[in-house]
């Protein structure tokens, strides 16, 4: 698979999460509803595109050291599908490589010394042709998406949303 030169499809639970939090013209996406506390709840979307959601998921997964390493793509529900266009991948290639390098440098499960990590992070630069490298990236992305959904799906109103935001910021600042 050459994901920099082709469309990439995410299936199953992760496709559901991506579609749930991304603005899309698809009508089959699950809605995330937040109430203002008094009035009716409204449907909320955070990310402009699927790739933004997937990318945020990857960052969250990496920060939380959460990988879904045992997921079998073939076991995923093929009916739930989020298709990311080749052009979107191409636009975000630099970001993807940057995050991938960080994943290689920090992943505790790679079994490499520092030199090998550095060499892998900067010399074995994925060109989009290696399923292995993409699968490595997706492990974090899937982990992060699950984490994201766990946090966000429980949010029912503005207060909870602001609490989540504040918690995130506190963690970012290292105060939590």
């Amino acid at each position: 698979m050459n994901f920099f030169n082709e469309d990439v499809s995410i299936y199953g639970e992760y496709a559901r999460i991506i579609k749930k939090y991304s603005k899309t013209s698809d009508t089959d996406g699950e809605e995330w509803k937040i109430s203002n506390g008094i009035d009716n709840a409204e449907s909320v979307k955070i990310f402009s595109s699927y790739i933004d959601c997937l990318y945020a998921g990857a960052a969250i997964g990496l920060a939380n050291h959460k990988k879904i390493s045992d997921s079998d793509p073939s076991s995923l529900d093929r009916k739930k599908k989020a298709n990311i266009l080749q052009s979107a991948w191409k636009n975000r290639r630099k970001d993807f490589l940057h995050l991938y390098s960080l994943m290689v440098l920090t992943d505790p499960d790679l079994g490499m010394d520092k030199d090998q990590r550095v060499k892998k992070a900067f010399s074995d630069v994925p060109d989009g042709t290696s399923d292995h490298e993409f699968a490595f990236f997706l492990q974090y992305a899937y982990g992060g998406l699950e984490e994201m959904d766990k946090e966000l799906s429980g949010i029912r109103n503005y207060k909870e949303l602001s609490d989540y935001a504040c918690r995130t910021i506190l963690r970012y600042k290292g105060e939590e």
Binding site: D52, A56, A59, N64, D95, L102, L105, T106, V118, K159
Partner: protein, 679 residues
Amino acid sequence: MKIKSIELKNFRQFGEQRIDFSGSEDKKVTIIHGKTHIGKTTLVKAFLWCLYKDDDSFKTDPILVNKDIEDGYVPANKTIVVSVAIDLEHNGFGYSIKTEQTFQYYKNENGDGAFSPIMKDPNRYMMKMTPDGDPEPVPPENVDKEIEDILPRNLKNYFFYDGENNKIDDVAEKSSLQDAVRNIMNLNIREELIRYFAPNSSGRVYDRFESLKQSTDQEQSDSYQSEIDRLTKENENQVSNNDGLKKDIETLRSEAKTLEEQIEANADAEKLQKQYLDEVRELDETKVFRDGCFEKLIESFDSAGGARSGLAGLFQSLAYKDSNLLTEFADIKTNSRAYEHQSEDSVDEIIKKGECICGAKVIEGNECYKHLIAAKDYLFPRDFSASLNAFNKVLVEEKDASDASASNIERFAIDLKKSVKRIDELSDSIAGISKTLQGFHGDVGAWKKEAHEKRETADTEAARVSYSESTIIPGNESKISDLKSKKEKLSAASEKNNKLDQYLAYVNAVEDIATKRLESKKTGIAQALEKQVNDLFHAIVGSSKTELRLNPKNYNVEPYQSGKKITLSTGQKTMKNLAFVGGLIYLAKNKDKIGGDNDELDAPDDYPLVMDAPFSNLSKDDIHRACTELPKYCSQLIITLLDKDFDLSIGTLKPYINKSYSLTTDDTSTNSAFEEDRL
């Protein structure tokens, strides 16, 4: 008029002479007789000079100075006073008239001299006797008028008759004859009076009444009335409208008061209502703010702007921070196998050459070869320590962006949280107020607004009423008063004009009556004059064969026999003239009996008849008849006669003569003197 005496001094042939004239009704004739050139005509001219300063008849010998004096020795510069004085009586008043002129004798170098008047115009003095006999001087400027009243100048040729020249005929052919009759009969005065009443006579009664008329423009008057009506109606409307407004004002103020009482009684509710409204407004605003915060917070989660933004950026930075990469890989940076100025290409070049820099052979698979291949991992572009440093540098830079993103998220999150909290507080408070105000349905704020509006409307309408009562209505009343005044003036002018029209009608009637009376008078005069002239002429001539026809327009008489105009002989002309003068005297004496209705203008006048040689051209019989008839017509008859005519007439005239004077001279002088005859 009767001439009582004449006194002459240094006048022509006369030195100092005075004679009295007969004033008797029975013996009314005075005769002055003498030879030729003795001074008879001079005496008649002396009357004319005294009364009218008339010296026309002295044209051939203009010097009035007494001939004796003139012809004698006269020293140079000698002055002589020439005078004629007449005493007369007219309408019960006595008059003394004196005319005098001073002459001076001038001599030339040869010793020849002549008299010349010092003042060209003679002086004339008049004294008027009051009925008590007291003399009273007549102012010089009034003397002419007094004389005109006594004997008008243009009648002088008729009553100072020059028989030698038959002057009547001369003047009869001129307009003065007409003037004479008109004067005697006061026709000129009547015509002048009629002119005062005649229409279109400028400056006279009719014209003056016309000029007093004023404009009575009915259209203007109607216009004034229309405007008065309009203004009156407007004021009525104003008053009516003001009454309505006053009721409205009262109602509005009463309603406002009720509302204000209601407001006062519900002051607490008003406070709560105000708080309720304020909080509802704040709630709405806060909700809008909250929605904005929410939108921005959601947007700030997105990482559409790149890896450094949104949640992705935050967690990426977090992962980097947690990794401690700089510390963890610090030794990579100082790896001894790295060559700062070598590159993978330079190693490939050595391998290609088969000989290392150190001189060792480089053969694929040998130690040297393996060593070089391994070294390439640390050379440019696979200089991993450099890449790691660059990577770290990027991550540090990314942290700044992440911090900014975190700051935004935090701000929006806090704002959102605060707004949600505030919304909850406000919702609770509003609910509490609502509960408190439950059952109270009034809107105190609306009441206040309504009360204020009612007060404001009432004040506005009160101001309108005030303006109407203080300005509009009085202004209109003033205009109405002004217009009424103007209209009344027009009405008054109309009434005045009506009166003037009545006066003008009277004027027309007066003019009409006066004109008719004048015409009647003229006809009567012409008829009476013609009759008297014919009667006297026939009596003097002794025959009625010749008829004298009088032209009623100019009073000229023409002789006709058997319907044909004839020419009279000189003697007949004299008799015709005597008859005409007699006719005039008859008219003057009988004004009140001629021409229908009479008035004070028809008071009879009595004129003397002074005749200078009237019988010069008559036969003895003619003289006899003339002397028989003339005294019947005159009240005073003064006649100068040649001695021969005196002799012929004395027999007939004697019963009428009271005074008779003979004019004589002696051998020592050229002066003439009067010597009264013993009859």
